[in-house]
């Protein structure tokens, strides 16, 4: 009842950080079970799994590049703040019809190695190509 006496029952702060992701458009990369492209464009895939010699499940990102290129993969939280850079280096072209091996794992931690929870958006950028995938970490 006290809430009804006041205008606006939202508990959001006016000058607080807003929630950017996932937003109205949920993005998602397809699973890495099968290569479906022709090999002449950039392709990305990702899936949760246990990599060889790993002790915990990670979110594993792989991609195929038709040419040598610089690749940047980073994790942002729901407020669009950078959480962790997963990959930032030059990468040779992948074999046609195959994804890069091994994939790039994200162990659900931030740059300091602390576990994180909530909604996140991963960005992949290579030259003019850019793609993203939303991930919820329970």
């Amino acid at each position: 009842m006290a809430c009804l006496a006041l205008v606006g029952c939202s508990s959001d702060g006016i000058h607080a950080r807003q929630t950017f992701f996932p937003g109205s458009t949920l993005t998602s990369w397809s699973a890495c079970d099968k290569f479906t492209g022709t090999g002449d464009v950039v392709q990305i895939c990702a899936s949760n799994g246990l990599l060889p010699n790993a002790t915990a499940t990670t979110y594993n990102i792989s991609f195929s590049l038709p040419n040598d290129a610089h690749v940047y993969i980073a994790v942002f939280d729901s407020h669009a703040a950078l959480v962790k850079v997963l990959f930032d280096q030059d990468e040779p072209a992948t074999l046609p019809g195959f994804f890069r091996q091994p994939p790039i794992p994200w162990d659900f931690t931030d740059a300091a190695g602390e576990p994180v929870h909530g909604d996140f958006r991963l960005y992949f950028k290579s030259g003019a190509f850019q793609s993203s995938s939303d991930v919820e970490v329970p």
Binding site: C3, L6, V7, G8, C9, S10, S11, D12, G13, I14, H15, A16, R17, Q18, T19, F20, F21, G23, Y72, A74, F76, H79, A80, A81, L82, V85, D88, Y123, K125, Q130
Partner: protein, 207 residues
């Protein structure tokens, strides 16, 4: 009536033993042209007084405000620019429309907002004659806030906007630096909100 009796006594006795009111004597004894001059002078005097009061804090119909605010949440500082206008005055309250634009930036995040708040100021708590005046008012306001996030490493931006309808209580102090310039400090409390203190603000206002 009493002045007329005194004047009649003065005229009847022809003396100034009785203390006669100066203005009554002047009016009674003046020629028509003098009366017009006196009336004109009095009108000019009234206008001068009204004009003097109109430029002071006794009559503060509108003002511009340039300020800085310290919000409770992510941002350290906000720059503020506001315009406030008294729109109504009834027996118990003065009503003000306060519009404000804010700008903030920290790290990767940039914010801009515009607000319009209708404030009710209880007259019982408002003392315009005081040199340092406490200000206490409540109101209802609409806010539109737009934020731009720099997606670090991508050379790209993401933006998001939200609209808020909120209740506010504002309390503070203000004083005049001159007839037209003043300074104020105040805190704005917002309901409902995660953080009870929306921001603390210092403003320089120009009438």
């Amino acid at each position: 009536m009493r002045a007329s009796l005194l004047l009649a006594a003065c005229l009847a006795t022809g003396s100034f033993v009785v203390s006669c009111p100066e203005r009554a004597r002047a009016q009674e004894g003046a020629a028509p042209s003098d009366s017009a001059a006196i009336a004109k002078a009095m009108q000019a005097s009234d206008q001068a007084v009204a004009s003097a009061l109109g430029k002071s804090h006794f009559n503060d119909p509108d003002r511009f405000e340039l300020g800085a605010a310290m919000p409770e949440d992510y941002f350290d500082w906000l720059g503020t620019f506001g315009y406030r206008r008294r729109v109504l005055s009834d027996a118990r309250f003065e009503h003000y429309l306060h519009t404000e634009a804010t700008f903030g930036h920290k790290d990767y995040l940039t914010e801009g907002s515009i607000s319009a708040v209708w404030y009710f100021r209880p007259k019982a708590l408002w003392h315009p004659e005081w040199r340092i005046r406490p200000v206490f008012e409540g109101g209802i306001g609409g806010h539109i806030v737009v934020q731009f996030a720099d997606l670090v490493g991508l050379g790209d931006w993401s933006s998001h906007a939200e609209a808020f309808l909120k209740s506010h209580i504002q309390a503070g102090l203000e004083t005049d630096l001159s007839d037209r310039l003043g300074v104020g400090v105040r805190g704005r409390f917002t309901f409902p909100a995660h953080h009870p203190l929306d921001y603390a603000q210092v403003v320089l206002f120009l009438r």
